[in-house]
Symmetry: C2
Subunit: 271 residues, 2 copies
């Protein structure tokens, strides 16, 4: 169940990379052979022999397979690194084009003004959330309060932004329960106040069977918050990370978080 599941995994990956099922299966089969005929491929993959030809021809046009026109035809997969590199480049080119193309059309149709003091947005994915976090820190005017619930959320880039905020006289306050991380942050961000107590409510309450981990909690200028969390289910990867990001002093969500944050601070003897 191990080697097999690796095959399946490879096949799935290839499909996610845009190949059809037969193409993916045929490619994996070819990867296991120095060279193969349609028959051989059909035998070790689950591709009907008569369809191996289509599949392989497509693979050839994608630069993943070479074809020997003989009788019977023989096929050969390019090396693993070559294949991966070919696919990677293909997508890199696409994302680059996308960037360029989107830039040319950004101008939008005008719509009425939407003056909102109360905003609550939800977003997901580590990347999007990290990016929004940075932006909020950069925009801060006089105070940033950040609770870091997971070591991986404290990146060098974030440290840099926090440092910069501190340098322009924004008060930076950081809450961390994890002891070793706390010490590290204290060392790396001398200008910031780091506190630990008063955050008991943060830890995932095992009593309630709650597997949700709060990863970051940010309050900027008492006005804007960002809360992100993920479930402790599937292994590593903060892909599943979900976040809510809200604006407006009188926003209920913001008010609650403000309360919690200041409670934590107070119990620490600060604020």
């Amino acid at each position: 169940m191990n080697d097999l599941s690796n095959h399946e995994q490879a096949i799935e990956l290839l499909q996610e990379l845009g190949l059809k099922e037969y193409e993916a299966k045929a490619f994996v089969a070819l990867t296991r052979l120095p060279t193969g005929t349609a028959k051989e491929i059909s035998e070790i993959s689950e591709v009907p022999r008569t369809r191996v030809y289509d599949a392989v021809r497509v693979l050839e046009t994608k630069g993943l397979v070479e074809i020997q026109h003989a009788n019977p035809q023989r096929f050969r997969a390019v090396s693993i690194d070559e294949a991966a590199e070919t696919l990677r480049r293909e997508y890199e080119e696409r994302t680059d084009s996308l960037r360029a193309t989107l830039r040319t059309i950004e101008p939008a149709a005008p719509s009425e003004e939407t003056e909102v003091t109360h905003e609550v947005w939800s977003l997901s994915g580590d990347s999007a959330i990290t990016s929004r976090t940075r932006q909020l820190v950069d925009e801060s005017g006089d105070e940033v309060i950040l609770v870091i619930g997971d070591e991986s959320a404290y990146t060098p880039k974030l440290q840099e932004r926090l440092q910069a905020a501190g340098d322009r006289d924004v008060s930076v306050v950081i809450g961390i329960t994890d002891e070793p991380l706390r010490e590290r942050v204290e060392r790396e961000l001398p200008g910031a106040k780091v506190f630990a107590s008063g955050l008991e409510w943060l830890s995932s309450s095992a009593e309630t069977g709650d597997e949700t981990v709060i990863r970051r909690l940010l309050l900027v200028d008492r006005n804007t918050i960002l809360v992100s969390s993920f479930h402790e289910d599937l292994g590593i990867g903060h892909d599943h990370e979900q976040a809510v990001f809200g604006r407006g002093f009188d926003n209920g969500l913001v008010a609650i978080v403000r309360r919690l944050m200041y409670t934590g601070l107070l119990s620490n003897g600060d604020a």
Copy 2:
């Protein structure tokens, strides 16, 4: 037909990057608005209003859109760079996993020996062909004859490999019709013989309406050849590049190329 075709281009790109039609259209629409409701999106894209919700929800889980849960719901696209970066990373991770996974399964089923003296393989795509070219140069034992039909085929890496071949006493002969390129190669590869005449047959014969351009022509040890060509159709990009690669001294194809190459050489007073 310009701005419109840009939209369409962006939509197509997004679909190639794995989004569904509605998702792609909705995203492009959102890109043009600072913020948008389902109705607005539906109006400027061609997505039925009732389907905007699904599409946007998917986009949100992919980290491309943020959702404001209000009434009416408002949606906002992340910045262009963020979107492109998010997608790029996604595919990078996949190609990396693929590489790793394929490595674990390479061991193949044993098949009978296939000792072939006559091989002819076809392959396509600049990347695959470039890679095979390098490999052949690296494997050369005593002679490399290379005709470069297009400046872009002469890369620093190739130069390096040719240099290395020369250093291990392989005779390196290079044919180039393009005058400026010829001089450059002579300068950069002092150990190689560079010739120009006798290659008239190479130029695409406009008489026959033949738009095919020979990009590279390689003969290694009088035994192995590689011929690559592309059509002068769609703008730039050697994506369409097609190649044939053959082995075996008595291989007909190899023989023909050998004849051509030596003719070129002879008329130059060498060989």
